[in-house]
Structures are given as structure tokens and as C-alpha cells.
């Protein structure tokens, strides 16, 4: 396990810096675009900007990590296709609503079971659906490390900006 630890520590130093620079850049970009947007109702703007900042944070972390990790790849894929998927989902909803009368409701036996711990973990870690437990644990470890880095950097940014 020593090798794993070594790899981890070597990684996090550069990951932190990379993430920090990327995140700052994206924040600046957002700031600039917001300035031109003008003032709007506070609530909506805040929620949207919160969401955008969050997505920017995740995206910059995923890019800083690179495509070498399953979770970063899955995260980037999800972020890129988010708009596309949302559009598809909306279309599907509309279509299904139209066809509901025509469609015959088939009785399907859905085996519902309480989500086990591994299922919960799979949902938490991006890209965790298509991995066996062994790889899932490994990805979780790396993901936790990167998340902790992300939190620290964001916290320092937030604290700094308060001064």
C-alpha cells in the first residue's frame, strides 16, 4: 500500500494547484459575464449562479484530474451532455404524455429492494454504475481525496474573498 500512498500524495499537490487555477479562471469568467447581465431578481440569480459555480467546480476538478480516472471521465461526460440529456428527457416526457392513453399498461413485476450500501456508493461516485466493487472502492478513494482538495480550495477562496 505504500506505493498507493506515494502516488496519492504526489498527485494531490499538483491537482490542488491545477484545480485552483482552473476554478479561479472559471469564476472570473462567470463574474465577467454576470457583470454584463445586469441586475435581476436575487433569488433566481443566486440559485442559478450557485448551480453554475458548483458545476464549474466539478468540471475544473475533473479536468485537473484528467481522463485517467473513471470518475473524472464520467463526470466530464455527464457535464458535457447535461444539456443534451435534459433536452432528450423533456422530449421523452412530452412524448410519453401524449401516448399514455394509447399505451397499454403492462403489469410489470418490479422487484424493489432497499438500496444496499454499495448501490448508494455507486450513486454518489460519478461513473460508479459500471464498476465492480473492487474498482469502485479504488475510485471512491481517489474521489474522496479530490473532493477534499476541492473543498479546501473553495473554502480558502471563499474565506479570502470575505476579507
Amino acid at each position: 500500500m505504500a506505493s498507493k500512498h506515494v502516488i496519492a500524495t504526489r498527485h494531490t499537490k499538483s491537482i490542488k494547484n491545477r484545480f485552483a487555477s482552473r476554478f479561479l479562471r472559471s469564476l472570473l469568467r462567470m463574474k465577467r459575464s454576470d457583470r454584463f447581465g445586469g441586475s435581476r431578481s436575487n433569488e433566481g440569480v443566486r440559485k442559478r449562479s450557485t448551480h453554475r459555480i458548483k458545476m464549474a467546480a466539478y468540471a475544473s476538478m475533473a479536468r485537473a484530474v484528467g481522463p485517467s480516472r473513471t470518475w473524472s471521465r464520467a463526470l466530464l461526460f455527464k457535464l458535457r451532455n447535461r444539456a443534451r440529456i435534459q433536452g432528450v428527457l423533456r422530449k421523452r416526457c412530452l412524448v410519453s404524455k401524449k401516448n399514455k392513453k394509447k399505451r397499454v399498461v403492462r403489469n410489470k413485476v418490479i422487484i424493489s429492494r432497499e438500496p444496499s450500501r454499495t448501490d448508494t456508493l455507486r450513486k454518489l461516485v460519478p461513473g460508479g454504475d459500471s464498476m465492480d466493487i473492487c474498482c469502485l472502492l479504488e475510485e471512491t478513494a481517489h474521489y474522496i481525496k479530490c473532493l477534499a482538495t476541492q473543498v479546501k480550495v473553495m473554502q480558502s477562496i471563499a474565506d479570502q474573498s470575505l476579507l
Binding site: M1, K4, H5, T9, T12, K13, K16, N17, A20, S21, L24, R25, L27, L28, M30, K31, D34, R46, S49, T50, H51, I53, K54, A57, Y58, R117, T118, T120, L121, L124, V125, I133, C134, L137, E138, T140, A141, Y143, I144, K145, L147, A148, T149, Q150, V151, K152, V153, M154, Q155, S156, I157, A158, D159, Q160, S161, L162, L163
Partner: protein, 439 residues
Amino acid sequence: MINKALLSAGGENMLHCTDMTVLDRQRARIKWQQEQQQLQVQLPQQEISYFSELNRVFQQAGFHEGGLSEVVTRSVKPDPGLVDNRWHNDHVVGFGVGPPYTNGLGFELNYGAICRTSSCPPAVAAAATVTATVRGAESVVSDKISSGIGRESSKKRKFDKVQNNSKVVAEEDTRDKRIKGRAEEGESNTSEKNSNKSRSSNNNSNKNNNSNKDNSAETSKDNSKVTEVQKPDYIHVRARRGQATDSHSLAERVRREKISERMKYLQDLVPGCNNITGKAGMLDEIINYVQSLQRQVEFLSMKLAAVNPRLDFNIDNLFAKEAFPACSTNFPTIGISPDMTNAAYLQFNPSQQQLVSCCGLDMGINPPDMGLRRTTSTPVSIPETFLDSSCFTQIQVPPTWDADLQNLYNVAFDQGRQTTFPVQPFTGSVEASNLKMEM
């Protein structure tokens, strides 16, 4: 390491401890083999004499089928290269011995063979006595009689070579001298099956356990010692003593060990789970931790969204903040220091109300953050850090801020972003904070 010391001591007892990792045993075995190779040349005559004696003893024991009388293979060492040359006959009979121990004479008798007789218990006892007589009163020799009826053809010992690209490197087998109660003759075909199946599956891993007692007479439990022609890309495995040796259970064992290894690593990452044993509890902790981290990210992004309007002239402060972590040499050991310095900065904020509210908010975050620290330092509550003057000593950043500031400026503002905020206000703020710190 223990094994090295023991190796130097002659390696008699080195392989007893089950705490040795697979790799350690592997290395020990290889070293031992190298030593043996040197010794091998030196003492051929004694081996021959011993073998003749052995043969005599066996014949006295009345083994039929002449199986045991063919005790021949006395390879000094289960060196894979040597073994292949010597043991390749189908009628190798004798005792399968693991990693040969050096007996008092300086060489070890390695009887790798299979007891063909069906009357195993007497064979075992006889063999035990034989070995007892032969070996004299010294080092423990690991003997193994694996009786394979109809399996002699591919009685090979599996050698784990470091060059295998498998993660699990099988270790050398170490056997203890089994005197009585060693009823594993019933071993049977397990090794044969193992050799075949493990050749086909890449993920078998056996581990040898050294235990001095073996009371189980079950056929399924036994050491499997199979020598094998070196095949690349296979994970060579050895079954532990007293464990099942069919390929399914072996593969499962490998999988289980991998999972437990990962769980241990996660235990180091997640704070506060040292006393939790078991996968279920650990998984719960991990899930909670990941959820809390994600919640923190969301909360911080909300905070940043609220603060965002002020991002303009705070960018330089931001960089000062960024410079600090960049200065630190070792990220994981920053530990409490960034947090404490954050607290210090917060302390110096002239607007106390804002500070209090922030602290109130941050209290929610920081205790978990404190807990997050992987360092062994005890989590210090924030109010204490406010009062603790020792935190000032950690703020060695100011002198180096400017240089790093410049770097960060270049990094983020290389597009010629016009700086409406010249450096002066920033340095002013730095000086102000410096002054405050000196207070």
C-alpha cells in the same frame, strides 16, 4: 524486516510467521534459492548418502507399489529452472517440500514428490519419522506428502516469479515439519486441479500459511504445491494451509483480499473510522463522508455565489490566499495550518459581525474539516485557534507572498486582463494584515 534478519540467521524459522506478506516471502525465497544454488554445488555427496538412507527406510516401512522407493528427487532447491529439469518425470515420488530449509549441514533435502500409496497415514507417519531421522535434530523442514492418485504426471510446484505481472505475487511455500497429526495425505488431486485451473484463470492466489499443527484430515484442505512451467501473465497463487484449494475459492480469496486492502486504504482516508471494523460500517462511513463533502461543496458554491459580486477586488486577496497553500511544501501535512490561518485571517477582519456570522457558518464546516485532517494532530476547535498565539508562527507566508502572487497573477491573468485594481491596494491590504498580525 523480520524476514531479512531471519534470513541472515539461516532462515530456519523465518517462514513461520504468518504475518509476512506475500512479497516478503517471495523475496526471502528467492534469496534462499540463490544461497542454495551456491551450496548445491558444494555438497553433492552427502545428499546421495541421505537419499540412499531414505530409500532404505522407505522400503522398511513396507510401502507397496514401490512408489516411495522412488524417492529420488532430491533437488536441493525448488528452483524453478532446476525443478523443471529434474522433476519432469512422471514418476516422481517422495515428499513435496516447500521452500527448503537449510538444515544443520548446510543443505536441505528437498523431496518433491507424491506419495502414491493409498495407505497414507502410515506413509505420513513413516515419512515423518524418516524425515526426523534424516534431518536430525535441527531445523524445521517442511514436508509435504501430497498423495495424488493418478496425478503424478503434473506434479509441479508453482513458483511465483516476480516477473509475473500479477498483482498478487505468490509467495514461496514454507512448510513446517509435520510430525503427527498431519493428516493431509488425503490431499489428492487438489494440486493437480489447481495447476490446471490456475493456469486457466489468472486470478488465483494462494498463500502459504505456516502452522505447526494440522489436524484436519480433510482432503480439501491442504497445501497445494505445484510446480509449473513458467507461464507468463498468470497470477500464481498458492493455497494457504488449511484452506480450500479449488480454483473458485482461490479466486474468491483473491477478490476478498483485494477488497479488504482497498477498505484499509479508505480507512486511512476517511477520518474518524479507526475503531470501525467491518465492511458494512466502513461503507456507511464512506458514504456519509462523501455526502458531507458534496454538501460542503454545494454550501461553498452558494457562499461563493453570494460573495461573487465582490470577487473583483478580492481576486488579489484570493491570490494571496492561493499563494499560501502554494507555499506549503507538503499538501497533506498542511493539516490544520490553512484552517488555522484562515481562522487567523478571520480574526483580523475588522468587521466583527461579519466575522462572527462567518464563524458561525464555518463552525458548521470547519469541525468536519478539522476532522478531515489526516495528520495526527488533534482537531483544535476554532475559538481556541483564535486565542492560540502559536498559530501566528505558522504564518510565514508574508515575505514570500509577493513572488507567488506574481506567479499566480501570470497564471490566471495572462490574457492581459486589465487590472483595474493595481497591486497597491493589495499590498496595502497585505501590510494591513501584517500589521494586524503583529498586534
